[in-house]
């Protein structure tokens, strides 16, 4: 049996390159989660409004996000919109747009749920104290929802990191692409490298996502 690629991993800067690829994936998901949290809170607040039009719009938005695979959205944004509008979109920007579009919907729905779980008396009491709507949200309602939202948004980060593996399909060089490049470059000398390299990629994803989802689960239990 020939080597299974562990030697290839430590040849040159291969391992560092893999980690660099992982960082690309993590960076895209962190930026998208940050955007999603901000937009999601706004959306969640709007979703609790009584407007029929807003309700229909959000319903359609949520349904699109619920049933369209992220890969399709990536293709539509990266290949479709550039074709229709003729603009120039970097692959990473396209990825961040898609992930934020998806994350905002998820966060928005979570924020809505959290907001609606706050008893109406909190609103009324704050208003009775003479607060304006902005103050009611800023000082009374949002602080109470934060505890419920933090574990859920941490969970969203792991789901985003996992989904970033798709961005190689629109040409972003992230960990899987780097892995393929390393395997291709060493095809002659070490034809079985695919095993070792993909096993390491598998493990790296796990090592990134597992602690984060454990943390989310832990916080959820403690704060519920």
């Amino acid at each position: 049996m020939q080597s299974l690629g562990i030697d290839v991993l430590f040849k040159g800067t291969n391992f560092l390159r893999l980690l660099g690829g992982l960082w690309v994936a993590v960076r895209i998901s962190l930026i998208s989660v940050a955007i999603s949290i901000v937009l999601g809170i706004v959306m969640g607040m709007l979703m609790t409004s009584k407007s029929k039009v807003l309700k229909v719009i959000f319903r359609i938005y949520l349904e699109i996000v619920r049933i369209m695979p992220q890969m399709v959205l990536l293709f539509v944004v990266y290949f479709g919109t550039t074709r229709v509008f003729g603009w120039n979109l970097e692959a990473e920007t396209a990825a961040i747009i898609v992930f934020s579009f998806w994350g905002t919907a998820e966060m928005g729905d979570l924020v809505r749920g959290a907001l609606q779980s706050i008893p109406a008396i909190q609103h009324e009491s704050a208003q009775a104290l003479g607060m304006n709507p902005l103050q009611v949200y800023g000082y009374v309602i949002l602080p109470q929802t934060v505890r419920r939202l933090i574990p859920l948004s941490i969970n969203l980060i792991t789901r985003m990191i996992k989904t970033t593996s798709l961005v190689m399909m629109i040409g972003i060089v992230e960990i899987l692409k780097v892995a393929q490049q390393i395997i291709e470059a060493n095809r002659r000398t070490s034809p079985n490298a695919a095993f070792g390299i993909f096993a390491v990629v598998f493990l790296l994803y796990f090592l990134i996502c597992w602690p984060i989802s454990r943390l989310a689960g832990h916080l959820e239990k403690r704060w519920s």
């Binding site: 049933i67 369209m68 539509v76 096993a199």
Partner: protein
């Protein structure tokens, strides 16, 4: 938008849809079986086996399907395990789904109040009857929303099959764009076909969820 072109592409997309559904359902069936088995193992706290199942659930819940598929399809043949692309697709989807389904079933089983078991026992039921007539029906109806969410999630995940050269919807769209550069037409068809596949499941899901709420205890 060139409708004649779209019409010409229809048969290829149709075949792709059928292939996606075929592999998708095999994967989902495997996921359900695995999920129930794993949930029961965890729930009954069977020694040793419970640790293995726990590790499996954590491992597959915390890695992307794409990486799992690459491992099964490109890495395993290097140690002598060769699997066809189609089998690899349903196996990967089933393993991923099994981990998610297990979690859903497990929380369904856990959410049943201990008094249900106690009451059933005081009526003189044996453990199998308690499980079959009291616990399981309630666990199933309370985990249905989660199961349907998993189902939609899994059918969406089939979009990564194209990377192991299965001719699914994504592959077909990419292939046709590459050959004829009718980007807009292909992407529109792609979106429409995913709607055809997932919208009924989503609608059925919301309907079932409303219906099953009546089955819950105390309503």
């Amino acid at each position: 938008m060139d409708f004649a072109v779209m019409k010409a592409y229809l048969p290829r997309f149709w075949d792709a849809l059928l292939l996606t559904l075929k592999i998708g359902w095999q994967g989902v069936a495997l996921a359900l079986v695995l999920g129930i088995a794993c949930a029961v193992v965890v729930h009954l706290k069977i020694p040793v086996l419970r640790r293995i199942v726990g590790a499996y659930i954590e491992l597959f819940r915390n890695t992307p399907l794409l990486v799992q598929l690459f491992f099964i399809y490109f890495a395993l043949p290097k140690v002598g395990i060769r699997i066809s692309a189609a089998l690899c697709g349903s196996l990967g989807l089933g393993l991923l789904g099994g981990a998610y389904m297990a979690e859903t079933f497990r929380s369904g089983l856990e959410n049943i109040a201990p008094i249900q078991t106690e009451s059933a026992q005081s009526l003189g039921m044996n453990p199998a009857q308690v499980f079959g007539y009291v616990i399981l029906p309630q666990a199933v109806s309370s985990s249905v929303p989660g199961l349907l969410a998993n189902l939609i999630f899994l059918l969406k995940e089939t979009s990564v099959f194209s990377t192991i050269s299965l001719m699914d919807l994504m592959f077909t769209a990419k292939d046709l764009i590459g050959m004829y550069a009718k980007t807009i037409e292909c992407l529109t068809l792609l979106v429409i076909f995913y709607l055809i596949m997932l919208l009924p499941v989503s609608i059925l899901g919301s309907w079932l969820e409303r219906r099953l709420r009546y089955a819950e205890f105390g309503n």
